[in-house]
């Protein structure tokens, strides 16, 4: 039952605002995404530079960086996730309040980046937790991080309240808990979460 646009614009001219609950709900959630203060490595410095005066993340309602996962909606994984740090990252993601999103910032968070061949480096955080926006770059420029925020906001905008396009937190079947890996002898115990990570098919 989408609102037909022409009527909406006409009413808008008369000064009457028409909206649906879904638009209001999405507009409310996307306009103030509070990221979690979670800097791992070099990308964290670019993230801090983005929040500073010149690039100013506050224009997107995200300048409040909450240290505790309980009050954060977004986890920006900015830097290399090592195997020693991976259980903590997954536990923090589990402890965040439910409508939560993940931005994998930088090549290291996406696929291990330049340190991929290291014995202590996890080859990408999407092995354990679902990632919403990937930003390539090493480190990605502050503008790229702002573009990631805009992508995430567009993504939240397109979510429906019920039915097929529901976000994870409105969907009963969607898993709420992601298994925290254990420390094995040479590698993490489940090397990747079966539920969230499938081997990418390489199309030659």
């Amino acid at each position: 039952m989408a609102v037909d646009e022409k009527l909406k614009i006409e009413l808008g001219k008369q000064g009457v605002m028409v909206t649906t609950i879904q638009e209001l709900y999405n507009w409310g959630r996307r306009s103030s995404i509070w990221p979690m203060q979670f800097g791992l490595a070099c990308c964290a410095i670019e993230m801090i530079a983005t929040t500073m005066a010149r690039y100013d993340l506050a224009r997107f309602g995200s300048e409040v960086f909450r240290p505790s996962p309980r009050q954060a909606d977004l986890m920006i994984i900015s830097g290399t996730v090592t195997k020693k740090m991976a259980p903590q990252v997954v536990r923090l993601y589990n402890q965040m309040a439910e409508p939560r999103y993940v931005i994998a910032m930088g090549a290291c968070a996406i696929s291990g980046g330049p340190f991929k061949q290291g014995y202590n480096v996890l080859k990408g955080i999407d092995r354990y937790i679902p990632v919403d926006v990937h930003i390539p770059g090493c480190p990605p420029r502050p503008e790229a991080l702002i573009q990631a925020f805009m992508t995430l906001q567009k993504k939240i905008d397109e979510q429906h309240l019920t039915g097929e396009g529901r976000p994870r937190h409105l969907d009963e079947q969607a898993p709420g808990e992601f298994q925290v890996p254990e420390f094995g002898e040479h590698d993490l115990d489940p090397p990747s979460n079966p539920g969230t990570w499938t081997v990418p098919k390489i199309i030659q």
């Binding site: 020693k84 061949q117 002898e185 040479h186 590698d187 990747s192 390489i202």
Partner: protein
């Protein structure tokens, strides 16, 4: 600043019985080093620190180096029974035969210490200590009681190379997690098999990727 030979002589007079040999450094910067016997390590270190002339009170860098076992082919004269027909009669006679035999020279782990002097402001004096072999005798005396700067670096060498420093106040793993087995920076450490996608793979990475693909095809690995 005294030359390496003078320091060697000074050490030998100050610490009798210390096995000190000069390891020349062919690079143009001529930073030659002194190989110190492991038994007198702490005594030599204390001498280097407390001697007024040297006053090496600042330990800058401790490095672990791993040298693998080396097979050295050798020409060996061996007398061997060779059956030869001497003027028609079949008999065995021993005869000098030259053959190459592989002599395995045991590898060793090495700790290299770079010492400087803050008081006298003079340059690096490099001392090295070597373990007997790479498997069971891997103890070296810890120099943390002499220079506290070595504390974390020796723990890192213990963690990544496996040299056990006796006398270290707090020898634990520092970089890897505690449940980690064996020492990852050694030359013969094999990483666990993992999904490998490298768009422009070359040499070891390519080899590892193909091994992984073979394993997946054979159904052992799950990815």
């Amino acid at each position: 600043m005294k030359s390496v030979e003078e320091i060697k002589a000074a050490i030998e007079t100050a610490v009798p019985g210390a096995a000190v040999t000069v390891i020349p450094n062919p690079a143009p910067n001529a930073q030659h080093s002194l190989l110190i016997g492991a038994q007198h390590g702490v005594a030599v270190a204390e001498f280097l620190r407390d001697n007024e002339e040297l006053a090496l009170d600042y330990l800058s860098n401790v490095t672990g180096v791993d040298y693998l076992d080396k097979e050295i082919p050798e020409k060996v004269k061996v007398t061997r029974q060779v059956s030869k027909t001497v003027d028609g009669v079949e008999q065995t006679v021993d005869e000098m035969v030259e053959e190459t035999r592989k002599r395995v020279e045991p590898g060793y782990l090495e700790a290299v210490y770079h010492l400087f002097s803050v008081a006298k402001k003079h340059g690096p004096v490099i001392i090295r200590m070597r373990t007997a072999n790479r498997t069971d005798q891997v103890e070296l005396p810890s120099l943390t009681p002499v220079w506290r700067g070595a504390e974390f670096q020796e723990r890192e060498i213990f963690d990544l190379f496996g040299i056990v420093f006796t006398g270290h106040p707090d020898l634990r793993r520092i970089l890897m997690w505690d449940e980690f087995k064996d020492h990852p920076m050694r030359r013969d450490y094999v990483e666990p098999d993992d999904f490998e996608y490298e768009p422009t793979a070359h040499d070891e990475v390519l080899k590892r990727a193909q091994e992984h693909k073979a394993k997946v095809a054979a159904g052992e690995a799950v990815q």
